[in-house]
Symmetry: C2
Subunit: 256 residues, 2 copies
């Protein structure tokens, strides 16, 4: 069974999708078998690897709502070793539709258990909220990878994220750990960045990855071509930093 | 009755809160009576104007769930003319709690109707999702102000936002209009920005505000002091651009 990591942070725009897509692609380039799971109705991870679903094609929606076979929804990408369980925009209704359902928080965990054995790493891209989709990801995951910008509102949001992780650990998924904290869109020259970084490192200490992802325009250009950064511009700072992060993740993390 | 605008875009981190707080403060500096309404469980607009609620204090949660008196929850801020209906983190449960309730989409509209007469502008800060909290804002609003970064994922998200606005217009709020589209964190030197801007202007034409908000570090520093930019650094490019936006909003918009 591979290591399942949820890219979670309810603060919007902190780099959850950019990390899921580019960490996934980098791990695959280093020889790991990776499954990217998109549970965000925006379906950005799905389009970030060049996939656009038709309305009749299987997606994470079916895995969560209609006990669809996850293996049937999995697709390959342009990167050997990187597969994706794509999202469709119909997922936007899932949180309301799941409210009255039995074992509503365990739906994704069931899907991951069915197909997880074929992968070394499973990366779940979460929406910017703490609703039932993110809860499903936290229940399905072994641990959480927290992407965070060094900005004030992002720092403020950590309290509710940590209390949600604690609440999930108490009931739904006792083994849930924090895998690591990743500084994104990092620019050390900005005074605010250095101040917020100090607070984050003060609290999370060695959980913070040594690799920080710099602000790099190539990272925001790549999705418009449906390519991870390693395919779009392998020599960019963005590609270099996600490959470095992938090496750190492998060192920290493959489960037995 | 004042003009009620919802700052809505389900894409995370595009500047909804920064626009709600700083447009609100700028309108107040120009002599308008403004109410900032925070319906995001992150409560960033609330802390962006220096307010931190205790657990026993009234907030938008009570207005939505327990028919609390909105006038009792309204507070003044450091800026004369700018009041706020603050959020509390307990709002994170509201979307699930509202699902089975009667007239669940009209709760905020009822609150706004009760107190809207005292203001020229009411600005609603929405969370990064299209769930029941954002729906409540779209039903309560006269029109939507759409903050958007010139980035690929933000552009991709416009389709679902526009179809949600159309759906609300068909049933819950037939008069809902698009007030304007605001380019945020704007940097014309970046090739991607110019390309995406062209697509946005091609589609929205004169709905796009002439004022674009440049990327300006002062805007991200100000919230850590609980101050809108006009109080934190009145001479900054950030303050200048939000004052210019406020003049455009006044020209477009005061209702009778
Ligand atoms: N290191 C970086 N350098 C430059 N741009 C970046 C970087 N990381 C992310 N971006 C861009 O910033 C925006 C936000 O990133 P992204 O969409 O990955 O965040 P997110 O947390 O997934 O957002 P959401 O909360 O909407 O799901 C995107 O337009 C992305 O292309
Ligand atoms: N023009 C700007 N220049 C520099 N930084 C900015 C600008 N506008 C916003 N920011 C910063 O970018 C981050 C995202 O902005 P903000 O939080 O306002 O977006 P949002 O759409 O409200 O996010 P969410 O989707 O989480 O509600 C914040 O840290 C904010 O301080
Ligand atoms: Mg995302
Ligand atoms: Mg916000």
């Amino acid at each position: 069974m591979g290591t399942t990591l949820a890219m979670a942070n309810q603060k919007g725009g902190v780099g959850k999708t950019t990390t899921a897509v580019n960490l996934g692609a980098s791990l695959a380039m280093l020889g790991k078998r990776v499954l990217l799971i998109d549970v965000d109705p925006q379906a950005n991870s799905t389009s970030g690897v060049g996939i656009r679903l038709r309305d009749d094609e299987a997606s994470t929606y079916e895995c969560l709502l209609t006990h669809g076979d996850p293996a049937a929804a999995v697709r390959s990408t342009a990167i050997p070793g990187l597969a994706v369980l794509p999202a469709h925009s119909r997922l936007v209704g899932a949180e309301v539709e799941l409210v009255g359902e039995r074992s509503r928080e365990y739906r994704l965990q069931r899907a991951v258990a069915a197909i997880g054995g074929a992968y070394d790493f499973l990366l779940i891209d979460c929406p910017p909220s703490l609703g039932l989709l993110t809860l499903n990801a936290l229940v399905a995951a072994d641990a959480v990878l927290v992407p965070i910008q060094c900005e004030y509102y992002a720092l403020e949001g950590l309290t509710s994220l940590l209390s949600t992780i604690k609440a999930v650990r108490k009931g739904l998924n006792p083994a849930l750990a924090i895998f690591g904290v990743l500084l994104t869109m990092y620019d050390r020259r900005v005074r605010l960045t250095a101040q917020i970084e100090e607070e984050i490192r003060g609290y999370f200490a060695s959980l913070v990855f040594a690799t920080a992802i710099p602000r790099n325009v190539k990272l925001s250009e790549a999705p418009s071509f449906g390519k991870p950064i390693v395919l779009y511009d392998l020599l960019s700072k963005g590609a270099e930093s996600y490959l470095s992060l992938a090496r750190e993740v492998i060192a920290r993390g493959e489960k037995g």
